[in-house]
Subunit: 288 residues, 4 copies
């Protein structure tokens, strides 16, 4: 779907649905020398909202890249009351990893990072424990220890936010980070904190979902990756998947099978985020 070699720009757009949207956007790109590499649009007919992802080759595009956003806003965006974001394929997003003690998602993300599977920078790792510090250091990534308790939470989170800004972090991934972020923290990073929850939400939100799944006797377990919002485990879902289980599976077996689900589902969500495939609207995602 996406061309990995060309230098492209991507617009993610949403606005009230109305006539002339597709043609106005494609005209802006075509008449200025852009060759469309990928186009997908979607209309939420219930809410009358239009969504679009359009990616084009910059080779012959006549508008300088630092002027594209301004020109688009002036010539198209304003007219249709669009909200949009602009991304360039040669800019690697900067991701901070938050971890606690469980290492499986952490290892999986690091392996993809080290082997160049993703176009991403990981300038720092933050944890409330020191357990995974040696792994971080082995990979040559800054590790910051922020132990959290109810007394120091506000100031620790403030320090974390400052550090994220200092390192120009674009988004945060909670790789089985076992702390609930405060509303204040989350508000600073809207749709930019990705969590992995170990159930098929909305079932089994909150603590110990595998134990709850075991007690309920479900025949499949799940994992859900979502953007973090103020309400626990209730943010916009990016990815979900499930695995079959049976009466033979103890809680430990669910945890074991779940680990594989969690790491794959989290990584797929990160992939979509990195490729600018995700639009969020009304607590739901459009994944192009």
């Amino acid at each position: 779907m996406h061309n990995d070699k060309r230098n492209t720009a991507t617009l993610l757009i949403h606005c009230p649905d109305q006539k002339g949207l597709v043609i106005s956007v494609t005209e802006f790109i075509f008449k200025n020398g852009g060759n469309i590499v990928h186009l997908a649009q979607h209309v939420d007919t219930e809410k009358q909202v239009f969504f679009m992802r359009i990616e084009w080759d910059l080779a012959d595009f006549i508008i300088p890249r630092d002027k594209i956003a301004e020109y688009f806003e002036t010539l198209v965006g304003k007219r249709f009351d669009m909200r949009f974001s602009l991304h360039f394929s040669d800019v690697a997003p900067r991701m901070a990893l938050f971890v606690s003690k469980l290492p499986h998602c952490f290892y999986d993300v690091l392996a993809r990072y080290e082997s160049g599977e993703w176009q991403v920078e990981i300038p720092l790792i933050i944890s409330n424990h020191r357990d995974l510090q040696p792994v971080a250091e082995r990979h040559g990534i800054e590790f910051h220890h922020f132990p959290i308790n109810k007394d120091n939470k506000a100031e620790q989170e403030a320090a974390e936010l400052e550090l994220l800004k200092a390192r120009n972090v674009d988004f945060v991934v909670l790789a089985r980070y076992m702390q609930i972020l405060s509303d204040e923290f989350v508000r600073e990073l809207p749709n930019r904190v990705i969590n992995i929850h170990h159930s098929f939400l909305p079932a089994f939100a909150g603590a110990k979902p595998y134990h709850a799944a075991y007690d309920r006797g479900v025949k499949l377990i799940g994992a859900t990756s979502h953007y973090v919002t103020a309400e626990l485990d209730a943010g916009p879902i990016i990815e979900q998947d499930v695995a079959y289980v049976s009466h033979q599976d103890s809680v430990n077996a669910l945890i074991r099978k779940g680990r594989d689900l969690e790491k794959i589902v989290l990584s797929r969500a990160i992939w979509h985020h990195l490729r600018h495939n995700v639009l969020v609207y009304d607590n739901k995602t459009v994944i192009f």
Copy 2:
């Protein structure tokens, strides 16, 4: 797994876990001339409960079939405080179908019945509407119309139960039957009423699960088949499955995709019930 041609008996057993269970049961069968066709056992190590399904060929078995239950109880069951049920492969269970207006599960069950996919008898169909009566009649199956409202519910259910007894019905299948059965009704048929719910329970219990799934923005929808208990959508789960959906799927698309899930999941549950693969304990199922 199961031999379709041989004449077999099947014991479904559960009891407190203890030493000597497997050997005592297998000895009972072996020493009396039975050849074991299928054996599966399971121990719930948390609750210390033992479960077993054992099926054997009756060809050389020296205990007459009408005495097997008595002999087993006397010689093995009592000693270990077992609860068991005994089934014969040449006896087709008798199933009553409850339907309302939605036909997809109904058609699917009838197609399997007519084509001999299952070993089952369907002596009657019960509905609170007349819409599907012509389909029932076309298949030559008795159709009984029991319109239900809050005033007549108790007496209609009583009449239904009487009819089920008169027709020697072994179990009931709710093929998208849009009425909630009373506790009294359910209590008469413990673990013998199979329902299909159109979500991956425990998510989206109750009414309009596809609308709720759409509103939550889940990336997969599900269906769950379970035995009906007094608490709505909370009975022991027999089968579950899911299908992937995306932002492109409207509520109608979820309903459309869900229909296929529902009919397959319900039919798999019926299959397990008919094959005597299911043991229920503590609101969970063991599916051998």
Copy 3:
């Protein structure tokens, strides 16, 4: 994704990839008063081919519907060397069903037809056996018996083709039809004969795939729906799915589990064909 109520037109287009395609097509629709309901495009970057599905509301469209194809060809199609087909949402495609003795796909299609799940007409059923004639007649659909042997194949197929023309059939569905169609027959209906094969092609093409799957000891079985071409089981794949199996599953169990796969996979393929979601190019499908 698709609006079921509006009266729409759909264009399926493919042509050599080049600049200006999206804008030219959207301009044609927009400037003539059409409101785009669905747009999807795809570029095969390897073969440099552009594909598009565009659906628009006809309410305010100023070109009369019987002139749309001509105008589009003149104003857009010719310029870009496009091949396209045009479809209207208020025209139900006409489908002929070919069956032999296995009834599960047949029942499933008829149930969807009778319950109005699809917008389709089924003017006739053709079979090389009489087994399913009573079912066809019960549904009030013409049933034609064409027994086939190697001596009469050519003339029987000619008679079938004539009948299909006489009944204005748009496409044919082979619902486990156990005869291989001749090249001559297939050539008359390019990309208009849908078959269901009971394996995940290209594995286990040809006869007895479940036996072959059993012998190979695979851990999943599959079903594949494809357009029929001259080469057996080698046509463009529309839909595939799989189910998990284990050593416990005999050949009969594979056949039993496979039946559910087959009917679901075939019906999904028919759905896509009916919704004009399918473009065929170079023996592959684009499913919008």
Copy 4:
């Protein structure tokens, strides 16, 4: 299913099917003080072969562990012409990893090893390239470089085999090892070399399966883990799984999605092997 804490022994048995098998085995364990923790049996009714996995707690077992195999052979095995293997839960199998340049399966196995997800020892890593040597060394595992070409293959493999013996290796895992092992090598390690092939075998055996899958236009890709035999990609299948793909997925996208499949499918196969869940018979596996 399996208890992780108790000290257990496991017997994997197969023999011609006959009366008295289950009772004889369970009697051997029960009468000598063993408490059965897990029992599963299977009969291949076509080939008349009986398979069993039985695991029991050694706490009160009166036969010394170094005599169990001998006693079982004398008292039970010989009588029924059984082939069996005996395993103890407190003995970690020793695994050698063979890798080339692709790191994803390698990273995944190492992460599980380092985090203690498996009970296994990895005494050495063998590669035909030096690319992954730094990763091996970081984990403190011996790395041996055996470059292979057609002239030195026989002697290099002989040296590898010698090294495997010197390190008491129980089994070998080919984690995307891009060399075909000679028949001589494979014959030394029957059912003890696990490979991951990047297709749903038997489709797309041999080189470049993702390219072949792309060219065929399949709607799902797969991965297969199997024991290596003399015939390429034709050994007994342990695990398989698939992922959905579409026309939007380029060959590179198939490769990307396939990586996740490969590492999960390989790891599940290793898990089953480590837990002594696998019996091989007639080029097929029974996975208990």
